[in-house]
């Protein structure tokens, strides 16, 4: 199961393609990124909503993740306000999920005879999704490369059955595999395109907008509108559009946070408001499907 070490390290895009074919072969639906701004792959409805209810569900996808406060104007070798997560969700969690996961690392070129893989306790919790689970951060030679979680609750509902969720930090993993110290030096493909060619200018401009330019009054307004629209969707018994508004509100909150206009005291209140939207959407989704809590 170990990849040969003589093989040239994979480019960023080939790594994704390998993961796609690996998980596809293991029965996962290979989805495309959700077309909304969100902070993590877990927000993708294919994770959040599909973690609810009794139906089996296996999917894998790349999700662009936006963390406005992590922006460093393209000047930090490790931190980005926009990066990619690779998500795998399998429900119910298969008994050999750890082995399946390790197989995926081997598939992208990690040699277990020369590297130190460790499962280090890290319990996951998302206050904005009303969700938690137990699991680990997976270390490769001391670097966290994946968050591995068994969901126990989502939107305040017990997961019946439990789903296993894998979240790979693709840039970190690629930096590791390609042995580069700066994310912008990653080989994006084998035709001369670097990660910096694709994203450096994007990081500069988006950092400036996130931290300095974004109009805060408009953002506050957007937050309120998302909240109101979510309520309308819930009244109309439309959980999926309602959940989209929760995603929207969550990202607007992150932008407001990056602009430094939310005080410490207000922070908790905003998180609570986003959670109410997400929980409302989850409750509606359960009800629409006729699932008991």
């Amino acid at each position: 199961m170990n990849a040969t070490s003589t093989e040239a390290p994979l480019s960023f895009q080939d790594m994704i393609l390998r993961l796609h074919s690996y998980w596809s072969a293991r029965g996962c639906a290979i989805l495309q990124p959700y077309d909304m701004r969100m902070g993590a792959g877990t927000f993708h409805p294919a994770t959040t909503l599909r973690a609810l209810g009794p139906d089996a569900w296996n999917a894998a996808f790349v999700q662009p993740s936006r963390r406005p406060t992590d922006g460093r104007y393209g000047e930090n070798p490790n931190r980005l306000q926009h990066y990619y997560q690779y998500q795998v969700i399998m429900k119910p969690s298969p008994p050999d999920l750890q082995e399946l996961y390790l197989g995926s690392l081997a598939a992208i070129g990690i040699d277990f005879t020369r590297h130190d893989i460790r499962f280090v306790e890290d319990d996951w919790e998302s206050p904005t999704l009303g969700a938690w689970g137990l699991g680990w951060e997976v270390w490769c030679d001391g670097m966290e490369v994946t968050q591995f979680t068994y969901f126990q609750q989502m939107g305040g509902f017990d997961c019946k059955p439990v789903a296993g969720e894998l979240t790979y930090g693709l840039e970190r993993l690629a930096m590791y595999i390609q042995d580069v110290d700066n994310v912008y030096d990653l080989r994006f493909n084998d035709a001369g395109v670097s990660y910096g060619d694709v994203f450096l200018e994007n990081e500069r401009q988006m950092s400036t907008w996130n931290f300095e330019v974004a109009e805060t009054d408009a953002l506050f307004d957007l937050f309120r509108k998302a909240e109101a629209e979510c309520a309308r969707c819930l009244d109309a018994k439309l959980p999926i559009p309602a959940y989209e508004q929760a995603i929207e509100a969550s990202h607007i909150f992150n932008l407001l946070n990056a602009r430094g206009v939310i005080s410490v005291a207000e922070r908790q209140a905003y998180i609570g408001r986003v959670r109410d939207l997400a929980k409302g959407a989850c409750a509606s989704y359960m009800e629409k499907n006729g699932w008991a809590a």
């Binding site: 009794p54 930090n76 070798p77 490790n78 119910p92 969690s93 298969p94 008994p95 750890q98 277990f112 005879t113 020369r114 590297h115 130190d116 893989i117 460790r118 499962f119 280090v120 306790e121 319990d123 689970g133 137990l134 699991g135 680990w136 490769c140 030679d141 001391g142 670097m143 068994y150 126990q152 017990d158 997961c159 019946k160 059955p161 439990v162 296993g164 590791y176 110290d181 005080s263 410490v264 005291a265």
Partner: protein, 669 residues
Amino acid sequence: MTDFLLELRSEEIPARMQDKAREDLARLFAAELAKAGLAAGALLTYATPRRLALIARNLPDATQAVSEELKGPRTSAPPQALEGFLRKTGLSQEQLVDRDGVWFAVIDKPGRATADVLVEAIPAIVRGFPWPKSMRWGAPSLSTESPRWVRPLQGIVALFGEEVVPCTIAGVESGAATVGHRFHHPGVITIGSATDYVEKLRACHVIVDQDERRTTIAIGAKMAANKAGLRLVEDEGLVAENAGLTEWPVPLLGRFDAAFLDVPPEVIQLTARVNQKYFVCRDADGKLANAFICTANIDAADDGAKIVEGNRKVLAARLSDARFFYETDLKVPLDEQAKKLEKIVFHEKLGTVADKVERVAKLARWLVDEGIVPGADPEHAERAARLAKADLVTGMVGEFPELQGVMGGYYAERQGEHPAVAAAIRDHYKPVGQGDDVPTAPVTVAVSLADKLDSIGQFFGADLKPSGSKDPFALRRSALGIVALVLDNGLRFPLARAVNADVLDFFADRLKVQQREAGVRHDLIDAVFALGGEDDLVRLLARVKALQAFVDTEDGANLLAGYKRAANILKKEGGVPEGAASNAAPDTAEAALTQALDTAEPAAKDAIAREDFEAAMAALATLRAPIDSFFDQVTVNDADPAKRAARLALLARVRDAVHGVADFSRIEG
């Protein structure tokens, strides 16, 4: 007699839970056995990240047959009582025995095979296991009633002798098969019995004994450091944590860029320890070296070269972040940072941190101005207090809250504050807990005292006192800190000038806790506290110590006995009758005691005023012989009521003289 082996194999068990899990496994197993009347000759427990195991030595092969006798109703009782008893025992009336008019049921329980007991015990142990956090998983989790474990359970080895004890938990069937090291030996291995368990696993790169792994890590890390000409900074907690993360630990030394040594060593050490679980080393001069020791879980094909290189990179990224915070923080003066404290709520009832800083600054200055903390410059005390909390809003303390104070000290030093001010900022949280260094630098003492007094005073004032096991604001620790600061520095501090009566009682309790550790008897502290009006801890403790020395002497012990006798007689006789006058014609011993009191009373009083408690005790000691003679030779309950009254009054004088030094009625023994 047969040995039993149980291995509960799961996905990775958090390192911090493994020790407790071993204890719980032994406890639950022993309890299940005890229910069946069984006990093992010895219980051994093991934990690795992937398995929790138990070996029970010398179990009997069966439980003993027992004959149990149940007492029933009287034979004359109404039939309902008998019917009830038959239902309860499941017997018929013919099977009961009539003994002296009472029905008895004799129930013979044959012995059970121990293997059968174990079949039931294993699922019961899993069901009742008190993991701090547990989870459901897989297909069975469709029901919230599905079995819970710390992480998904993967296998059960249950062997009584060489026989499998059959059971199924969450779809996992017991057997003799387990797996070795995840990467060195991923295949199945078959265990023969408890006897070969440890060695079979070792052959498959699993050291199942946690203590052995700890030793391997402790020694391996030390050797790696020595080999590089360095000295390991030993850290038992880190040894245990790494042992909980590995089945085959291999300590490896790596180097990081020496340029990072500009960052304060505390930061480097904390980053390495907390984020990466690395040991650090010192060079020959005792300075932090640019080296780290990580503990791999594998004998790597390249002797760990790639692993060390990977870990070096991760640490470098962490240290870059730390350096970024440090350099960014240095650009903002602490006075500017302190202004941001106005926006941080200290507690919803107690205003902002800035409010607290203002109070502490005034109090610290007052402590110096009043001479309570001698030798400090009041300006320094106030300045240090004003800057002491400023590092709470720095990036570095945001990242590493444990570095509060330490970072403030560095930043103060770098912005040119007086060394006494920087030291006070750095150390003003001390002492945190028993055994921590107690500050002695006067400015630090003033700020530390003021900070803790303010917290206790404020929280008590808002009625947020600790109760039972709840002490969310760590006020007990603050009080212990104050006690230690006052005593270690010999501060003459009448606490009542700074705190209310309820806070004073709180200090008394803390003092007892603190002094118990130092071997001071709590009843003696009570005896001095009971006198009331003593709020000077130094004086109080001096008196307690003199008292302890005294009651340990023969004179002291006898005086205590005499005192107790006097107090008992007074209690029994209802005190001193009204109008008691001294005896016109006292007995010899009576006169001698009166005379001794005439000397001892003023001498003790005078000595106490001089705070010479040894002298006060010595004065009391002179009463011992006269009291002994008095009790030997004089009858208190004389037929003459006047004599009796006079003698009771004399005993009351003895009691009061003793009470001038301490309330002996509180002393045990």
